[in-house]
Each structure stands twice: as structure tokens, then as C-alpha cells.
Subunit: 423 residues, 2 copies
Amino acid sequence: MFTPLRSFIDVAPDSHFPLENLPYGVFRPAQGNARVGVAIGALVLDLSVLEEQGTFRTPELSKSAVFAQDSLNSFLSLGRPAWRRAREIIQHLLAAETPELRDNAGLRDHAFHQQRDVTMHLPAHIGDYTDFYSSYHHAHNVGTMLRGPENALMPNWKWLPVGYHGRSSSLVVSGTDVRRPYGQTKPPDADAPIFGPSRSFDYELEMAFLIGPGNGLGEPVPIERADEHIFGMVLMNDWSARDVQAWEYQPLGPFLAKNFCTSISPWVVTLDALAPFRKPLPPQEPEPLPYLRAPNDSTFDIQLEAQLQTATMVAPHVITRTNFQNLYWSIAQQLAHHTVGGCNLQPGDLLASGTISGPSEESRGCMLELTWRGANPLTLPNGETRKWLEDGDALTIRGWAEGDGYRVGFGEVSGRVLPAITR
Amino acid sequence: MFTPLRSFIDVAPDSHFPLENLPYGVFRPAQGNARVGVAIGALVLDLSVLEEQGTFRTPELSKSAVFAQDSLNSFLSLGRPAWRRAREIIQHLLAAETPELRDNAGLRDHAFHQQRDVTMHLPAHIGDYTDFYSSYHHAHNVGTMLRGPENALMPNWKWLPVGYHGRSSSLVVSGTDVRRPYGQTKPPDADAPIFGPSRSFDYELEMAFLIGPGNGLGEPVPIERADEHIFGMVLMNDWSARDVQAWEYQPLGPFLAKNFCTSISPWVVTLDALAPFRKPLPPQEPEPLPYLRAPNDSTFDIQLEAQLQTATMVAPHVITRTNFQNLYWSIAQQLAHHTVGGCNLQPGDLLASGTISGPSEESRGCMLELTWRGANPLTLPNGETRKWLEDGDALTIRGWAEGDGYRVGFGEVSGRVLPAITR
């Protein structure tokens, strides 16, 4: 039977960050600059400290100081052999039976911080951010609302992973509050649009993956090699102004409805940590074109939930329970499609799933679907109701893969809705 | 009467780069790193040389070395007072009557290069790139082809500058050849899409502006202050695979049809150089909402043309003649709209116009419109015909504002179509 790994650092049984995980993030300690660390239990291990004292002097990693930087980009560009070597070294160093760090009180003091004492940053400088639309149930629900059930899915949907370019500059890290945007909206019975704060403020429960080594312009990545370019994954909340979106999105797609803020979780869980949780892809019918087929393509069993806590609630309430396996298209298919025309990906680029809704009502990943565009408001445990998010509401997305006696978790991405600015 | 300024550098009467212009670019000389220069006649003036010897030690500019860098971003972030001061200093230094540089042969040798001897780079690190759809005639022509003349324009088109996020990583500088992309397309009579090289390869004649100082997340830029954030403009060719676009674009907009390559011209013409060419905006009916109205909003009289030269032609042939004034929405309106929901712009961001078509057939800015989706092929002077661009075709976009005895020009953006890779 599989036995959870043991570290000399205490890790609670329900912690997202056991020795099996070791997600990477960028943090700033109370004193000093931002640098790269891994999460272990309730602590952060400062990799720049280990790097400085020579822990990573191996052929794969010794090129330069990749951890004494305020982004993961240099480390991302090294590729999987380097990532695997770093993981082995860190896992060994943190293991219960390894004395090197365990018995060096001075080094431990220097290398560990409590997570609650540090400030998390975006994990990478994200040059380009792409958002896919890969949940069948989400696309079908939204399409049904807009065009009726017969025309819910566009004819292309089952042939290619539909996606679009998002806004990189407004990506923020978990904990950043999000301001209700202004925009143009058009009430159905009005002759002209009106301008004001969005009245249909929504979240979207998503996951996203970070690109490691890129590909050259004009050089597609074959699907069999997609994994070589994928470092790891984060949780994402793609905040959305639905009333703005409905008026603006034709014919070129969402723009202001999405570009005011997109939040991601700070800890990047590597594909190596997620390997035990790979599952077969759900059936795809019609069979995808050859450039989207790989013999062992897979998805991941990652449990996901969204919690809402209004200003008057004493505890958060789960409003979405879903799973990464609800996605129709795999991340390898998304990456192969993204590059098939020659588009170049670069280290740190972020590719997101789109809202991850499943077949059940409880698995719907946004208010638009949960309340069916406001027609069926949610009732919360304290009696409040919600068609959309209101000012003061806090929305938190959590996710984890459940191992045998341990969890490989993503932590959370959270944000609170601030009222629109006064104009 | 207005008299053209005179420089001690020879400037041909039809040069795009007289003393009135002074566009900024990033170049690499035969020996050395990339740095910032301005174009004057057929020469480049190396601003990093002048900076090093103290030419720019003024309160507005002296903060750090902004010209000894491989992008304009630091200079862009300084804002208009610094840009104006730099322009004054350079214009004075290059004037016929100023001896300082004119009579210093050693400094001249060091500071000037022939443009033909240097390699031009992208002018800025472009974090985010946005493409608008601001030509009424382009939107109307395309909409007519897709949906018929009654439904040509979406209901939102005259209320807001429709736009979408483009791909930053695949922006390239003029002179970069562009490879025909592969993609999914669906013939109208087929049951399923097919995969192969695009057979409807197109150019789009556009212009784009570069952002100077940005705005904070959640802090809209009022339209009256839009110009403070705009440094200058370039020519752009938004290469497009029309067959890929037709199949993929619903409902989230163009993706692979555009993200394989977008070309811009290397010299950024400042708003200060363009000031004499401001013209009133064309009438806008219905009247835009207040956040899109400014008392003296304006456009620019910039003549634009696209030239095609096939592999067998001995000279290029003009296939589009248009003008920046054909755009419905102003750059100030575009910027105000982009930020009104709180989206943050950053120095070096690029905002493009969309295809600039006018009312006449000759003013159509892409093959899609010129040949009406291939129905009316172009006949070229050597008897060749074109529905779309073919491998080996070179497409060059040129633009200039015509002054009294001088031109403030943009130079050109050019690229040649390479055959699809062998798979």
C-alpha cells in the first residue's frame, strides 16, 4: 500500500501542502525582496537560501540563480529535467530521515517562514494569458440561455478547444479585492445602452496552467510533447460582468466584461505532484482531428469548490462543488491547438480552462448558471439571497487532489467585491 | 507661411523622417547592443551616445539612462513633459544652425548610423496588445458578407469601440517573414472540418498606438486625459487566416486566425509630431455616451497605402489607398473605453485600430474586402490574379502625413508570405 511521505516539518492530515506536493510560489518575507519558495505544511521554504548555499548545484540547475528572483520565469524556462531534479532535492531535504536541514537550527531559522507572515505575489511574470471554454456543461448552459437548447453549442465546439486571449495586466494574486466595474449595458426593452456600475457581477471557477519552455514562432508543439511545456497548475477566478458581456461580446468576444480583474492562487502545483491523480479523458465524440489526439492523453481528479461569504455571514458557504474531470478538452489538447498555427508560447504564459461546470446543478461554476441568469436566486444559510455577487461578498475557490492519507492541494484563490468607485 | 525646418543632415523632400518628425525606434548597430535612436533622413541618431555625454541632463529626463536600453518602455513611462523636452533638445541639436553636433566630427561619427546598416527591433516590450474594430466601412463590409446588409453592424457597434485582446508574443517588427499557418477550416458543404494550411491568407492595414504612463487597476482614464497616456503611433499589419477565422470565431472571437503573427513598423511617430495633422472627428450618430465625449476630440490626416509584390513582379503595386480619418472612433475614445471598467494599461501596451477601410473600393484595407471574399479576384499589372495572398507575396504598408513641403512619415511595415511548414 501507498504510505504518505513523512517530513520533519509537521503537516496536518488535511493540509494542502504535504511532502508529496511541494508547490512553488513567489513570496516576500517581512524583511527582504520577493523570492521563490515551496509550501510545506504551514511553512514556506525559502529556495533562494538553499540555492545560495549550494543545494542546487547540479548539472540541470546550476546555470544561474533561478530562485533569488521575483518570478518563477527563469526556473520555468529550464524544463522538466530541472524541475524533477529540484523536486527530488527538496523532497529529500525535507524528509523526516534527512538530517541536513532538520538538524541545522541556524539554517532552519533562515530558510523557513510561516506562511501567515509572508506576502504572496503572482508566481510568474505572465506575458500572455489565454482563456479556454472547455467545459461542455458550462458552454451548453450558457448557450441554452442565449440561444435555446437546440443551438446551445456552436458547431465548432466539439471540434476544437474554443478559446480567446485574455488581459494579462489585470491578473492579480489571491487576496486582492476586486472593484465592481462600470460599463455599458443595454436593458432588453431600452432603445439605447446605459452607463453605470455592473449589476451582474459574477465569479467563474477555473483552473489554469503555467507554461515552462516556450516554442518558437511558427513551430507548433505536437500533442505528444505538450507536457514538456507545462510546469503546473493554479486555481483561477475569472471575475465577470455579465451585463457588460451580453452587450459587448459580439462579434469579437468578451472584453471589458472580463479585463478589469482575474485572480489566481499563489502556489503552483507541478504536473509531477499531480501525476498520481491522472485519469482517462472522458469520451470525445466526434473523434478529434489527428493533431488533437494522443494515445495516453489524460485529465486530473481535482476536487473543486467555490465558497461565498457575504458581509453578514459568520462562515463561508459552499455554492459550487465540481471537479477538473468535468472538462471536455485536456490541457495537452489546449496547448497543441494553441500552437498549431504557429503561435509562440513563452515561459510564464497562463492558459486557463474556462468555467468548470459539471452535469449537476451543484456543480455549476458561476452565478450565471447557478441562478440561471438571476431567475432562481440562491438562498444562503442566513436567509440572504443572491442573484449575483454583491458588494462586500467574498468568493473563495479551493481545490485539491485526494490521495491515500494526504492531499495535494492548491490552497485557495479569494477576493472580496468592493463597491464601484464614485464618479 | 510655414517653412520646413532645416537640419544639417540632408533630408530628401519625400523622406518620411525630416526634422519635424523625429520618430523613436530601437536599433542594433553592426557592433553593440540594441539601444534607442531617432530617425533623421536616411540616418539614425543614437540617443544613448548623447545621453552618455549629458545631453539629456534636464529635470524631466535625468532620472536614469532611458536610451541605453533595448526597449522604449522606460522612456515611455516618463510621460509627455519628458517626451516634449527630449524632442526640443533633439530638434535643436539637429538644426542647421546648431554647431554642437554639426561641427564635432568625432561625436557625429559615433552618434550617427545609416539606417541600412542597423537592425531594427520591436520598439517596446509590449505587455498587452488590443485590437479594435473601429472602421465603419470595414465592419460594414465584413458584416454584410457574413450576415447580409440589414444586419451588417451589430447593435453595439455605434455605441462603443468594439475591440478584443490580441496576442502579444507573436508581434514582430517589419521585415520579418510570416509563415502560412495550419488550422481547422470547414468548407460550407462538408460535414466535418478539415485540417491543413490556410487557403485564405490575408493582410489587414491598421495603425496602432503605444501607451506611455499607465493607469492603476480600477482607475479609469477620463477621455480628456487620454492623450497624456499616448506616446505615438506605428503602422500595423494584422495578418489573418480568413478560413480559420470563419470556423473558429464564434462565440469568443478570433484566436488562431490572428495569433500566428502581427507585424508593426519600427519607428514610433509621436503625437507631438502628428499635432499639425489633427482633424475634426467625423460626425458620430447616435451621440456617444458622456464618457466617450470630449470637446476637442480629433483624428489625424494620415495617408495610408498597401502594396503587393508577388514573387514574379518587378515592382510593388498599390492595392489599397486609404486614410486614418476613415476611422469612426478616435484613439482617445478607444483608450477611455478600454479603461472605463478599470482595466490597467501599462507603458508599452499597444492599441490597434482594426482594418482601416474607407467608403471607396480602392480604400478597402484587406483582401477579404477587396476581392469580396474571393468572388472578385484582383488583377495585377503583370496579369497575375489574387483572391488571397500566395506564398512568396510581399505586402508592404506605408503611411505619412503630408505637410507643406515635408512629410511626417511612418516608413513601412512589410513582410513576405512563407509556405506552410512540412508536417
